[in-house]
Subunit: 500 residues, 2 copies
Amino acid sequence: METYRQLRERLAEINDINRAAGLLNWDLQVNMPPAGAEARAHALGTLSKIAHELHIADETGRLIAAAAAELDGASYDSDEAALIRVTQRDYEQARRLPPEFVAELSRESARAHEVWVKARAENKFAAFAPTLEKMFELARRAAEYLGYTDHPYDALLDQFEPGMKTAQVRAIFDELKQELVPLVRAISARLDRVDDAVLHQEFDEDKQRDFSYEVIQAFGYDFKRGRVDRAVHPFAQNFSINDVRITTRYDRTFLNPALFGTMHETGHALYELGVDPALERTPLASGTSLGVHESQSRLWENIVGRSRAMWTCFYPRLQAVFPAQLGGVGLDTFYRAINTVQPSFIRVEADEVTYSLHIMLRFEIEQELIGGTLKVADLPDVWNARMKAYLGVVPPTDTLGVLQDVHWSSALIGYFATYALGNLISVQLWEKALADAPDIPPQIERGEFGGLREWLRANVHRHGRKYMPDELVRRVTGEGIQSRSYMRYLKTKYGEIYGL
Amino acid sequence: METYRQLRERLAEINDINRAAGLLNWDLQVNMPPAGAEARAHALGTLSKIAHELHIADETGRLIAAAAAELDGASYDSDEAALIRVTQRDYEQARRLPPEFVAELSRESARAHEVWVKARAENKFAAFAPTLEKMFELARRAAEYLGYTDHPYDALLDQFEPGMKTAQVRAIFDELKQELVPLVRAISARLDRVDDAVLHQEFDEDKQRDFSYEVIQAFGYDFKRGRVDRAVHPFAQNFSINDVRITTRYDRTFLNPALFGTMHETGHALYELGVDPALERTPLASGTSLGVHESQSRLWENIVGRSRAMWTCFYPRLQAVFPAQLGGVGLDTFYRAINTVQPSFIRVEADEVTYSLHIMLRFEIEQELIGGTLKVADLPDVWNARMKAYLGVVPPTDTLGVLQDVHWSSALIGYFATYALGNLISVQLWEKALADAPDIPPQIERGEFGGLREWLRANVHRHGRKYMPDELVRRVTGEGIQSRSYMRYLKTKYGEIYGL
């Protein structure tokens, strides 16, 4: 096992550098004084260059091949076989992109980001159009380098959701859309039955913070292995299996951002914190895909965090924290308020019913732009027409429409689908957890989350990146990613709330 | 200049990695959840290994030699010539220590630190003695590797105060001691004339913080280029010339730690913030030695921070912040309180009169242990005898005596002298600043510190590491490091306070 040991040591050093870069990035968003930006960009560039060079070096390839030979016959499920499998795949992917292309992509997306920020602020799609054209051209070139069999979009999607094919996702989304569009339409006819006015009051920030800490500690977030800070765009970041931090933001006049945002990031963090410690400092010590990651954040934020069960226990506590605001508001009103559905323009503010439609729109448009069947110039019209068709609303400006997302200007093309896949996976896992452990709902009503968390850890978290997303879902639930569970969940929950 | 450009780029990357390691260390002391320690140690080890390997690589040596040839004839004071000079010296020093020895030193000092922590807590010098023996043996070996002409201690001292020789420092300290011991004795006979009771009251931490921020912002610390956090052992750390952070601590029942500690770290930070931006990402972008660094922290903490001039302006503001505690206490009482002299056991708590004697004791003992004229077993007796001779007090336990400092167990042998050199240099610079700009004291009485700060920047800060410490002091003041100025300062100030 000498070669395997050498490979692991090399991967551990690459991991160390990447985690250090992670800290530089975390600090940049949480602590850094403004004047530190230029030097920080240099330091991040240097660290990622060094990590990349070590990763794609011939020596890495030699060690992988030799270690694979050494381990020949190791069981598929062993950490060793998984490490070789995943590292081999990462290595081949990384070697396919020429360093000059990686540098060009990084340069162009830095520039594109500036252009997008300005175009969005000024509501000028035309000013962004040539840059967007360029980003999709680069994405097409990336797809050619990465390789694909059916559709170039496969290569892009695979970067974010390893192993998933465009045709497979499209089939899932088409099924979902068929049921979701009518559901949104039915709810839209009854929007007046629910409102969230009680959430829009004055709520002291320190009290919001203390209450959210109480909630996430009950979920199982351990402040000895993490911390919570403020950031403009909240995120979770791991520096090791034992140091996974989250960030959040507070709105003094709206409960949702801090309360549900913190639950969401905690879902991501619990995943990283639950990885088997034996995988520390290996490329396996992380979530397996963006989709599965999102399944964890959505499960804690929505399935748990917006459930009647959880608030049966926690609502009296929240009322005690905010007696003037919520003392006279009943549990049912609160429950309905936090589950208000409202077809709207902005993806990141969308509720759990309409959210996936925002994604499908982007997923379709990306494929059409990559395939050349849609011209960038026609994009605003197509965007608005589909918003009308799927959600029944039309954004009054491009800033509230096609210009709203940071992804395309950041070269994150093929990424959006993972959000909706996360929604689907979250309910698939939830249904299986309840089948395995029917005690989970009564536990949650008592404010106990250990049963659910440990089920997730045993079935999902501990594996880290050992299994690919669809493979993992199959292993756990017995079938691949599908939309039926999610639709069943939505219809039951919102059917009751909206009296359908 | 193509080779010079290549050398600079290589040094810039090494700088980036070192700054990243700096952030990992800062985070470890400021933010890190306890469980993150193990992974952090790995990450720090990997980064310093990579930086060290890049630094000592043959390629670095080749670039230095080629760039030196390319720049032949560049003026001594040019940034280019200084970069070659300093880099050449750093490179040769680093190449002299075999990697196995560096690894052994790092391993042994990690182990020694544990032993020391326990021995100190349990007041058991005998338990630490074999480890201390080992650390001095390693220091002797380091000296042999590094090379010296007169005394092996030269090689150790040179690591912390480049270019200074043991004989030179000994001559300076001997002169200082001859005058300082009698001064301490004279003050000791009149200790009852001054007391610091007014500083030991209940002071709200947030108000302490706000007031200290007001002070350091007046000094010129810019929160757009830095930040202040809490740490158990306060320190300053630079991540670039435009991001230099300090840490501090608060004691709710004693004003000094936060107030003077923050000024002290601000002195360090202003030095790093004042380096010429043209030196960014080069090895010159830092203070030139620990001694000169300490001159800056002591200048702001003591010469300015404990001056009557400064408090003429700031004391009314401090009284307004703490009216119940200080409203009835006059400026003179406060001024005497913050300048209380008290011969005591612990170096880090010593006042500016007695502090240097704590250092001399250690400086002498280190040389004797390195030279073999003192046995580790005899150390506690020798320590206590010299405490009696220099300060007139004898520590009741070794925990309060020979076991108090972290340095020896951390392989920092040859370091202590820099603290006292810093005291001496601080007054040499101060006298020259007043000679050049006699307006400085009246400015300080008005709460204006720009004149002093800009003088320091122009004469000291901007040069970074371009000049060695004694060379820098000569350039600025016209003579090398000496003790007369410091003694003149102490005798004038404390003669008045203690009525000598």
